[in-house]
Each structure stands twice: as structure tokens, then as C-alpha cells.
């Protein structure tokens, strides 16, 4: 068995979304949705200012880990169709 230290991922590498104190309870629906919104808002804001969207990758990784694939596909389809209900 590897030691505890050796099993930890290398510093700076992504493992999984950490505990978010904004969503401490069992219902994580909002955690997924909020990060999805934050990613798209971040990309939109960065593009508007002509900056790199690299910092937005955090939100992408969180929602990609947390949100069911079918939800993400449905929301992306709605964004394409212009019928997405969230404010981006």
C-alpha cells in the first residue's frame, strides 16, 4: 500500500471538485447549475474584454465533474437554440 502522501495527486493537478461551503447539504443540484452558469458568464465576460478564457476552466471542470452528461447536453442544446432559461 502506498503511503497517504504518495496517494495524493500532484499539487496543482485536477482531481475532483472540492467541498463548496455554499452548497454544504445533500442537494447538489444548484452546485452543478451555478458552475455551469458561472463558466458561460466567465467566458462571455472574458471574450467581451478580449482576454484569455483560461481562468474560466475551473468552472468548466467543476460542472463537467458534477453535472450529469444528459443535463449538460440539454442545456448546451438550449443555448444553441436560444431557449436556455438561465441568465448568461
Amino acid at each position: 500500500m502506498l503511503s497517504v502522501e504518495a496517494q495524493k495527486p500532484p499539487k496543482g493537478k485536477w482531481t475532483t471538485p472540492p467541498f463548496d461551503p455554499r452548497f454544504p447539504n445533500q442537494n447538489q443540484t444548484r452546485n452543478c447549475y451555478q458552475n455551469f452558469l458561472d463558466y458561460h458568464r466567465c467566458v462571455k465576460a472574458m471574450n467581451r474584454r478580449g482576454k484569455s478564457t483560461q481562468p474560466c476552466e475551473y468552472y468548466f471542470r467543476v460542472y463537467h465533474s458534477l453535472c450529469p452528461i444528459s443535463w449538460v447536453q440539454r442545456w448546451n442544446q438550449q443555448i444553441q437554440d436560444g431557449t436556455f432559461a438561465g441568465k448568461i
Binding site: M1, L2, Q7, W14, T15, T16, P17, P18, F19, P24, Q26, N27, Q28, T29, N31, C32, H64, S65, L66, C67, P68, I69, S70
Partner: protein
């Protein structure tokens, strides 16, 4: 897994389930003691020729049978609250796995790195190999690394289901439109079985869950082989 003529819980695989087992033993013993005492007193009362028709007050015994139950209830409540808070402790999971309930199978998504997802159907009885468990085996098991907290996010694509694994002390409802979190930690490798625990149609009894806990290296190899 469950076995014939089983009386108690399945063997605990996670630390929380161990605590729940001990708590259950403790509380059940109190229940048995009280029941035995009451049955004994009833039998005494039914088999005596003595009578006493002029009881006026009984301050002393009334005090005892008020204070003693209060103490017993506190002795039950304190471990119960301890375990309740223990279940809600903040822990940073090492992995996130999503499971979606369908009619009538589970699908699993591992999307921390690549996008790995697959369906898990029950093995029909006619296709079982010798030694396999009827109505419990699946074609694709949920493989997870042992010894580290894993975040399970449970939801449903159609009706209500419930993702339950008794030996880990887990039962979490799968509700369409909602993402329920359960944290899973296994102390040992092995196969752990569960069944859908919310009525969901004709094949509700035929959508089991099998978790295969393996060392981290084996888990990583399995992930690569599944992609």
C-alpha cells in the same frame, strides 16, 4: 451481501456503517431489556393472589419510573446524534461518480478526467454462471478505489428510484431534476451488492447495484480499459 436466514445487518464495509451497527446493537439491547422487564412484570401481576385496593400515592416509584426512562433516552440520543454529525462531516472526496436511474437499469458516469459512462443491467437468471447470485449480478459493475472518500451524485432520468448499498450504509433517492450527494468510503476491497429501493415500475426488483472496490492502481487500469 445478504445470505439465507440472515438476522442482522450485512457486515459493515465503511466506518459509518460500523458505527451504525454498534449503535443498533446498543439500542436493541436496551429495547430487549425493557421488553423483558415489562413482560416479567405482567407475568408477575397475572400470577399473584395478593390484592391491594387502597393505593393512595406512590411518590417514590413514580419518581424512579420518570427519571430512569429519561436517562435511558439520553443514553440512546447521544450516540445517535454523534453518528448523525459524523455522517455530515466535511470531507474532500478523491473522486466523483454520477449515477442516473432509468427504467430499469443504472448508468454510471465518471467525468473527472475523460468522459466514461456505461449502463449497468441485471444479468438475467438464464445467463448466470455457476456461483453467481440470482437477481443481484450485473453486466458492468461500478468499480471504485478503496480506502478513499468517493462522492456519489445520484439522480434519475425518468421516475423515482433509490440507490442503496446496505453494507456501506447507503440509501439515497434518485429524483429527476435533483442531484443528491452521498459520500462513500470502503475500508476493504470486494464486491458489495444493493438493489433499487424505490418502486419504479414493473422491473423495480430487477435493477441491482454492484460495487467492486479495488486498489487504486487496479482502478486506474480499469478506467483505461473502459475508455
Amino acid at each position: 451481501m445478504a445470505y439465507p436466514y440472515q438476522l442482522g445487518f450485512q457486515d459493515a464495509t465503511s466506518p459509518i456503517m460500523e458505527e451504525l451497527l454498534h449503535f443498533h446493537d446498543h439500542t436493541l439491547m436496551i429495547v430487549f431489556l425493557i421488553s423483558t422487564l415489562v413482560l416479567y412484570l405482567i407475568s408477575l401481576m397475572l400470577t399473584t393472589k395478593l390484592t391491594h385496593t387502597s393505593t393512595m400515592d406512590a411518590q417514590e416509584v413514580e419518581t424512579i419510573w420518570t427519571i430512569l426512562p429519561a436517562i435511558i433516552l439520553i443514553m440512546i440520543a447521544l450516540p445517535s446524534l454523534r453518528i448523525l454529525y459524523m455522517m455530515d462531516e466535511v470531507n474532500n472526496p478523491a473522486l466523483t461518480v454520477k449515477t442516473m436511474g432509468h427504467q430499469w437499469y443504472w448508468s454510471y458516469e465518471y467525468t473527472d478526467y475523460e468522459e466514461l459512462n456505461f449502463d449497468s443491467y441485471m444479468t438475467p437468471t438464464t445467463d448466470l454462471k455457476p456461483g453467481e447470485l440470482r437477481l443481484l449480478e450485473v453486466d458492468n459493475r461500478v468499480v471504485l478505489p478503496m480506502g478513499m472518500p468517493v462522492r456519489m451524485l445520484i439522480s434519475s432520468e425518468d421516475v423515482l428510484h433509490s440507490w442503496a448499498v446496505p453494507s456501506l450504509g447507503l440509501k439515497t433517492d434518485a429524483i429527476p431534476g435533483r442531484l443528491n450527494q452521498a459520500i462513500l468510503t470502503s475500508s476493504r476491497p470486494g464486491l458489495f451488492y444493493g438493489q433499487c429501493s424505490e418502486i419504479c415500475g414493473s422491473n423495480h426488483s430487477f435493477m441491482p447495484i454492484v460495487i467492486e472496490m479495488v486498489p487504486l492502481k487496479t482502478f486506474e487500469n480499469w478506467c483505461s480499459s473502459m475508455l
